[in-house]
């Protein structure tokens, strides 16, 4: 399964005079759970909509599942998409939802979906509008997975859910990834949760890819250096992504591995996904693009400030 489930090059989408996504080049490998992170307005939803075939690009190309044109019939057959806040038809019962989706799709595993809903304790005859937020999200996920997709795209699936509903929802997604080998791409604001679920990362900022790669690789090539604030500006051995300074002490997030030398008087610590993502989000001009996305030079083309 060495294909890319999403591949984009020069991808851009303009709404009116605003570019929601610009010059976007990325490759999402199959068999992974990929987290799409970025601030509001970074272009996450636009990118996911383009991949799902719900919107067409203004510039560039996007293909899915190993080269299928996004939005083509073959592509649509292999992708399940759950939009922001897991929308369902509020006036339809769960049973109606299953009947409708079974009719609208060429492949739909209705017995499996029914069994799943029973396991989750979601009554088939209740209108979706009367279900709890967690149950609605599970219903939307169950319908999506019953299509037996190769790629599951989730846009902000858990942002509105309470901690237990969030955990149960993600457990379901991870089980699908483990048991059926579904590749998953999800966007989320809940950084703390992503560390557990994602093994591939795409950080999007101002319509462009800032960081892309395997989570392990990305974390292994970043360190947090802590030392005297007075020396913070003279540190030049490795690229500094983000600096936080107190009166005496400074923290520098640098692109360095465990083997790189640490200046005397400084301590090096490994960083977590959340810390790393926050640092990059605060520095939209910084970029780290290891892996397949580095088709163009990874120099920060627009340095802000």
């Amino acid at each position: 399964m060495n294909i890319n489930v999403i591949e984009a090059s020069g991808l851009g989408k303009r709404y009116g005079r605003t570019w929601a996504l610009r010059e976007c080049a990325l490759a999402v490998p199959a068999g992974h759970v990929t987290a799409l992170i970025g601030p509001n307005g970074a272009g996450k939803t636009t990118l996911l909509n383009l991949a799902a075939g719900l919107a067409s690009p203004t510039a560039g190309t996007v293909s899915v599942l190993g080269g299928l044109a996004a939005g083509s019939r073959a592509a649509l057959d292999g992708i399940a998409f759950v939009a922001q806040d897991t929308p369902v038809y509020k006036n339809l019962s769960a049973a109606d939802m299953l009947r409708l989706t079974a009719t609208l799709n060429r492949r739909f595993d209705k017995p499996c979906a029914r069994a799943r809903l029973a396991e989750l304790g979601i009554p088939l005859d209740r209108k979706a509008g009367k279900l709890s937020g967690g149950q609605r999200a599970q219903l939307a996920l169950t319908v999506a997975l019953a299509r037996r997709p190769k790629l599951l795209i989730l846009d902000e699936p858990v942002s509105m859910l309470d901690p237990i509903a969030r955990h149960d929802f993600m457990a379901n997604v991870m089980t699908a990834a483990a048991a059926d080998g579904v590749s998953v791409v999800l966007s989320s604001h809940v950084l703390a949760d992503l560390e557990r679920v994602a093994d591939h990362l795409i950080l999007l900022s101002r319509g462009q890819v800032q960081v892309a790669g395997q989570v392990d690789d990305v974390l292994a090539t970043h360190r947090m250096l802590t030392g005297p604030a007075a020396e913070a500006d003279t540190y030049t051995q490795r690229p500094v992504v983000h600096a936080r300074r107190g009166a005496a002490q400074a923290h520098l997030l640098v692109r360095a591995t465990a083997g790189d030398p640490v200046p005397s008087g400084w301590e090096a610590h490994p960083v977590g996904l959340e810390e790393l993502a926050l640092a990059y989000l605060r520095e939209p001009g910084a970029a780290a693009l290891p892996g397949p996305a580095r088709s163009r030079p990874a120099e920060p083309s627009e340095v802000i400030r």
């Binding site: 068999g31 992974h32 457990a171 301590e267």
Partner: protein, 157 residues
């Protein structure tokens, strides 16, 4: 709560501590090693199935696979195709009475340290430092040790 244990169920359950800062896969590795040391896991026992770990902790399946791979490389477990991952070696080379005796001696040491006015962090620092000394002496390497003279706690990155 599950009293009706199905066959093939593992003797251990994983948990995660998000505040520990330890990568998830490493937490799983350490918990298996810990269970081996304390005798919760014995050769022939099955590790939790990847699917079950994923469903109970809501974590990436590749994380579990990575942890099991690492344990396999260490020679502690072996995967059996279609069945699961099983313990093949044990980490506890000593018997339970011996372990109890050593524990008692350590508790005695802790009481003495407490009496001398050392707090818990101080005890941990002293023990870690002594363990490092012991380790280096046994290996016979006399490398330069940062902060050892001043008694500072070293940060192991």
């Amino acid at each position: 709560m599950d009293i009706d244990k199905e066959i093939g169920r593992s003797p251990i359950e994983f948990r995660l501590d998000p505040a520990s800062g330890v990568p998830t896969y490493l937490q799983l590795v350490q918990q298996v090693e810990h269970a081996l040391r304390l005798g919760y896991l014995k050769p022939g026992d099955q590790l939790p199935k990847v699917r079950d770990v994923v469903a109970s902790l809501a974590i990436n399946p590749n994380t579990v696979l990575k942890a099991y791979k690492e344990l396999e490389v260490k020679g502690l477990v072996a995967g059996r195709p279609g069945q699961g991952t099983f313990v093949r070696a044990t980490l506890s080379q000593i018997t339970l009475p011996e372990l109890t005796g050593l524990r008692k001696a350590l508790l005695g040491w802790l009481a003495a340290a407490d009496k001398a006015g050392l707090d818990e962090d101080g005890m941990v620092a002293l023990f870690s430092s002594a363990l490092r000394d012991f380790h280096e002496r046994r290996r016979g390497t006399g490398g330069v040790r940062r902060g050892a003279a001043s008694g500072e706690k070293e940060d192991i990155a």
